[in-house]
């Protein structure tokens, strides 16, 4: 038998382990009673766990979406062959977009019917860049914008 533990530990950690072992050992009403002794309702304790994971999932989805947007922007910029001098004003951006659309053979581009007024500045810039990229390619059928 060892006279002393081999690894330095912290009392708070050991207290936590003792109580954790007890939590894992009990079930049913005994578990509920123990949880209430900590000033928590069992249902609330479970809801806190679900809420934490749901929030983390939402955050992960948002991060993935933003990453996908950044990747798309980079690829479009690459395709369009460098910087485009675009207006900074939203109304002017819309004018530029509509002008570009008018220049393109409508059989080559399919645009989902939408009210352009719903587009953000970022969306408009992205569409203009995509159209520029299409212009540099040889026409090979329908593209979506």
């Amino acid at each position: 038998m060892k006279d002393k533990p081999g690894k330095r530990t912290r009392p708070a950690d050991r207290l936590a382990e003792l109580v954790a072992d007890e939590l894992l050992a009990v079930s049913g009403q005994e578990l509920e009673g123990m949880v209430r002794e900590w000033g928590l309702e069992p249902k609330e304790a479970a809801q806190n766990v679900d809420a934490a994971f749901k929030e983390a999932l939402k955050r992960r989805s948002k991060a993935r979406l933003e990453e996908a947007k950044r990747t798309r922007e980079k690829e479009v910029a690459k395709l369009s062959g460098g910087r485009l001098d675009l207006p900074t004003d939203r109304e002017e951006l819309l004018v530029t977009l509509k002008a570009r659309l008018a220049e393109i053979d409508s059989s080559q581009v399919t645009i989902q019917h939408r009210d352009f007024n719903d587009l953000t500045e970022c969306d408009i810039r992205s569409l203009i860049r995509q159209l520029s990229a299409l212009e540099k390619r040889e026409p090979s059928g329908n593209g979506n914008a």
Partner: protein, 204 residues
């Protein structure tokens, strides 16, 4: 070191965040209750240097780290509930290092060196509790807290000795051997400790 093939049961297989997410969804209601309660308990233990910390805070941070792949579940080695307990405990334990203004790293290093030099002496629980606290005031507070916890068990000798051994770093099996307790006696003492500590932290 030779790498084991992926299908070897001894190889460490880490779950992906998606697998961890599935494991969360598969948790029983009771396991969620256990985890939620454990996080709350950890938060109560850490109020000294993280005042206002809640179980929800710890759970939120644990879930984020798991789903972002910063904490990986070794699914062959431990059940998901055990992994989540460990993750919450680890985050709570790291608070000393990450809390702004605390000089935990420097103080712990000094205390560790002192323990290494006195290799034949037992670890003083008060020194243990105050390890990482960097002012005389916080040392006094920790001593006060330990004394208060002690007083909860004045009428329960077995529980007190189990608690003392635990706080000195002994594992359950070592404690049973050291105190010559049966499994049943140890489990019963642990139960009493868990309940009284809950009452202590609720009222302090």
């Amino acid at each position: 070191m030779a790498l084991l093939p992926a299908d070897d049961p001894e190889s460490e297989q880490l779950a992906t965040p998606d697998e961890a997410m599935s494991a969360w969804r598969a948790l029983s209601q009771e396991d969620k209750v256990r985890l939620g309660a454990f996080a709350e308990m950890e938060a109560r233990f850490r109020q000294r240097y993280a005042p206002g910390l809640t179980g929800k805070d710890l759970l939120n941070e644990a879930a984020v780290r798991v789903l972002e792949g910063k904490r990986n579940w070794p699914l062959r080695k431990i059940a998901f509930i055990g992994f989540m307990f460990g993750t919450v405990k680890s985050i709570a334990g790291d608070l000393k290092r990450t809390n702004e203004g605390k000089l935990r790293a420097a103080a712990l290093t000094e205390a560790d060196l002192r323990t290494g030099d006195d290799a034949n002496e037992g670890i003083n629980p008060i020194e243990n509790l105050s390890a990482g606290l960097d002012t005389p005031e916080t040392f006094a507070l920790a001593e006060d807290q330990l004394a208060a916890i002690q007083s909860e068990f004045e009428d329960d000798e077995t529980a007190w000795y189990v608690l003392e051994c635990a706080m000195e770093g002994y594992r359950p099996r070592e404690i049973r051997e050291r105190l010559n307790l049966s499994d049943h006696e140890f489990d019963a003492a642990r139960k009493r400790i868990a309940r009284r500590i809950a009452k202590f932290f609720l009222s302090h």
